[in-house]
Symmetry: D2
Subunit: 357 residues, 4 copies
């Protein structure tokens, strides 16, 4: 038998056995013993549970059209129940979240619709999903109007987005990513805010008042690194790659310049559809990240090659069944992201210098 | 509001809401209202249910390392509970099924293992999954020995594989794809049998007896088309693409030459990871298939871009919860695939001429 | 400086410098010093040259819609100038070659055409390429008529396709894959012939005469392994993956059972767009192939992740500039693939038993 | 014949015919008549030529590890010879360009290297390419030192990067992206500068002087839209997707709010490896962009699914052979990107309000 022959042949694949009424967590548990991306998806659930059981700070990166695609209340849930501690997002995900929090909707369409016909009706398409451009314009104006209420000074995206969440909550009382983060005191960073409709809204504020709409993205770099320096046990969960993936890794690399205790994230999950062999960052492997010190050599890690709209509902359904108590009880960092200077675990966290350990 | 403005903006995306204890079917039901591949996965479950509720003949195509990867008992289940009526498979999936039905295992490995070390220990790797080459050699011998017991005449793969399933069942009494198909009278076609270890086993039978191991793959083409001619209401479910995908479509196209009632499959699900834009058949769109008449223009259809090891456990867990009765009660074709001439619904089905309607 | 610090940092990337009039070989030479798939494409050209400079037998596997997509005269050229020695192809590539050799054409279309409109005009679409279904039907009849002229006995695909090439040449005098292989005495294997329109043509011959259209795909397995046993220094070039990829590897694995000198292919190039992480054979890595003994541990090898319609014209343009003499002079195997029993280097090559070395 | 039968079957695929000595432009010309991505690559070359022959402003977006991967002198060449007018880049591409312009190198590695060993030697891996982390740290310091020399006021990335290019040129006299853009007066925007090592360098300047490193990314949004308002005939060429792809489209969408003459880019080429069906922006189709008005409904456009390290050397080699005169003579916009306020065609271009037409 193979088992005797080789150290490599120890743990057999267990063929998936189906039963009526299987819950998502049971499905994922069985998937862990099959192969390929099913195994990785099951493993992702387990590593996330390990994160929750440690005392690490959990970063979540969100890229791709997750909010337009129906994932925004899952991310809100992750924030509210503190399955994560800090969100790094593309602007688009926050913008499409704001759109729905403000009571607008995205609509079910198809990738084969006639785009000239859509353009004629001022409907914007995101693959198989549609939205009204006129409603988008009103969002932009809403953002511009909000930005004009702020002080005329630079805001990190973290501070700006906290205020934006507050305003949204005050206006609507609706759940969403921005409002959940505001209410749960979870900081959001948006390193590429200039490449989004939130940036466009800010530029329209500037258009109306030439001193408005000043965003300090360099301050975000410092703050995010200081989050790691303050508590070097960290985890990264990446949905879709993009700028959030790199920004979370950069925080660790930058922190390490100033603090030898930092040695890369200790846990890593990435759910991506891009591939490594074209050299881009979105598809880069977690092993590659270890060469840079972005991840610890000893990190527990898994890449899941799957669409987030399949993987995230599965994983979160399982987590919500298996470990809500763990999420509630865990020793997590506490933030106050509402001020010009963020507070972490009761201490201010500079945005203008790296803190020595 | 968007709803009034445009016919395109009718049905909103419903953000996925998580709860503890969600079953797979509930997860898929919610996924149907999100976007991208989550929506498609949910839709696939629904279309499969529609197939079960119609009187169609359901073909399942199985390509990719599904058996090595832990999917074989799901496919066996689909056969036993008659969620499908006819299997078209790569040889590899049947071979790795036989391997486990004979009591051997595949093992959990990793894509980053040292292949030279594996080769030195005679361990074969399939991405993150391992198996013993020596055990494979014994399978080959077992297949050769079995083939030598057969009559010295051509066998379609359908007949050969039915006999192989019978022998496996007699020897082992174990569930698997081949044994389930034998017991449930579900025919299996394997158009690329020469490109597999089952073919290698047959070639070793030929080596021992120069008149052994004669396979009639052209007869398979005729039989599969006759299955469609006998009952032109058909459905196709494709896992992974490959030769099974085209063979199932070819059956419909070939049938149409002889029977005007045939107008392409009426339902189609494909779960693939390949993409259309390089022109290969595995990734080709279901729309493209309509130009050929492989699918009816009116067919209900969905492509799910996901790994089968994620998608199939999810869909089948949902089906097993929602519609076991539907599967049991449905008007399905009845086969006797054990003889030289297959019988369908009580009538013989030629392997040497296309049957006029 | 990095050079002194580490053994890893020896050979710098040379940024590509553009000039007017660069020939394909010059472009590929410069690409070898960049990164990612450009480097791999350049390396593929070099390894192919190494194959030509050795005395190996070069297998070419051709999958994907290469003939419909305008690659058929490149493959014919590879055969005529003996850049390769033995072709393993999908049926579709041979069928679409036959279509054009018979004077029909494929046409420039678009992936966004209306497939219902195409179906109404009996036009078949392959991504962005179109063809007339009525012309395809006439091909099928032509193949059936040809098959009816053959003896009523089993033919390996190798023998059948050689005869088919001869008939095509006699009828048309046109260059193409089948006619070039016939004229250059290059054997073609088609392990999945039952999954193609050539198989459909054969089935129509059977329909007219129930003793016609008998194909012996198991004989192909033995012949292809015997090609390796006869001369164990072999190379594999795979375009697109699919059944040809595995069949070429299988020939080496099967040969090794009977001949210890065989230790896997010594050179390997694959040009694929599929990826490894879903476990399928088309995308599997060349390293994985080493664990199976399909490739030698010491093999020179490269995977190029690129569409064949880009990569093959580039590589062949470079080879044709740099090494036509090398191709002409090289010590290559000589085949006579026209008989029931193939002849290699003057000796018959059995199709009913593996030859001891 | 097909030609008479259908309006769809007009223009046949021309099989690629190889000859010795083919130049890149001849290869691409022949590729235009084949299928799939070969056709698209050939078409991209032609559309680029059309851009050069019109009076449009050509934006180039550069994402992916292009500079590390050996593409930086091609991009420099595009700038110097004005095949493009305005660059939008990720920070990484500018950073790795700076690394080499400063005399450091990237090195040829392999994706299967041991990342723990690399980490131990402080070597960073980008798929198959390596670099020294210590050298990277010195770059960061160099950037920080440079930033400390600047005035204590906000800089758009456009102004900052122009100054950075100037400093680099003064220090080194070496060609590269940043130095070429400085010398050719081509503006560079970097919307996600905070997600890059250039951002890290800026943050280190801030660490040393708390008033340093202030970047105004909102100003970039306004400037880039004003470039479009000033001259609404525009073209986009996207390498790899990412933030540059969206930023270029956003410039057109934002401009249209203020100027009805703007109707989306008139020409579009994208060379991407990502796919549309997961909903992310990098892989989104050019048709989808039309629904948003990012591209004109009448735009000439092509997506090439290929690695930039293959596609760009090919296209640029062809352009450099066929149309250097066209590039030289064309009516192009003239920028002075060196000041706090950019000048375009002799007129200042505001960064704090959108200009009415």
């Amino acid at each position: 038998m193979g088992r005797r022959k080789s150290r490599f042949l120890r743990k057999p694949v267990e063929p998936f056995v189906v039963e009526p009424g299987l819950t998502a967590d049971a499905v994922l548990e069985r998937m862990e013993r099959v192969s390929f991306q099913g195994r990785n998806l099951g493993t992702a659930r387990r590593i996330w549970e390990r994160m929750l059981g440690s005392e690490c700070t959990i970063f979540l990166g969100a890229a791709g059209a997750l909010s337009a695609g129906g994932m925004r209340l899952l991310i809100a849930h992750l924030i509210e129940k503190r399955y994560i501690d800090c969100l790094v997002s593309t602007g688009a995900n926050l913008y499409h979240d704001l759109h729905e929090t403000r009571g607008r909707r995205h609509f079910i369409g198809s990738p084969t619709l006639d785009d000239a016909a859509l353009a004629a009706e001022r409907i914007d398409r995101v693959y198989d999903t549609l939205a009204s451009e006129d409603e988008f314009c009103k969002n932009d104006e809403w953002i511009a109007a909000f930005a004009l209420k702020l002080e005329r000074r630079p805001y990190t995206t973290r501070e700006f987005l906290n205020r934006l969440g507050q305003q949204l909550w005050d206006d609507t009382g609706h759940r969403g990513i921005l409002t959940a983060a505001y209410r749960a005191n979870v900081p959001i960073f948006c390193p590429a805010i200039a490449d989004s409709s939130i940036g466009m809204g800010l530029s329209q504020a500037r258009h109306r008042d030439r001193t408005a709409g000043v965003i300090d993205v360099i301050g975000d770099i410092i703050e995010s690194a200081n989050v790691v320096i303050r508590k070097p046990l960290t985890a990264t969960i990446v949905l879709g790659g993009g700028t959030p993936k790199n920004f979370i890794n950069q925080a660790s690399v930058q922190a390490e310049f100033f603090d030898d205790r930092v040695g890369g994230h200790k846990y890593a999950i990435q759910i991506v559809t891009d591939v490594p062999h074209f050299g881009g960052a979105s598809g880069s492997s977690l092993e590659e990240a270890q060469s840079w010190g972005k991840l610890s050599i000893e990190s527990e890690k898994v890449s899941v090659h799957a669409d987030v709209t399949i993987a995230l509902p599965m994983i979160l359904s399982a987590l919500e069944t298996l470990c809500p108590e763990l999420a509630k009880r865990r020793k997590r960092p506490e933030f106050d992201p509402s001020g010009r200077v963020m507070v972490m675990n009761g201490q201010p966290l500079a945005d203008n210098h790296f803190q020595e350990p």
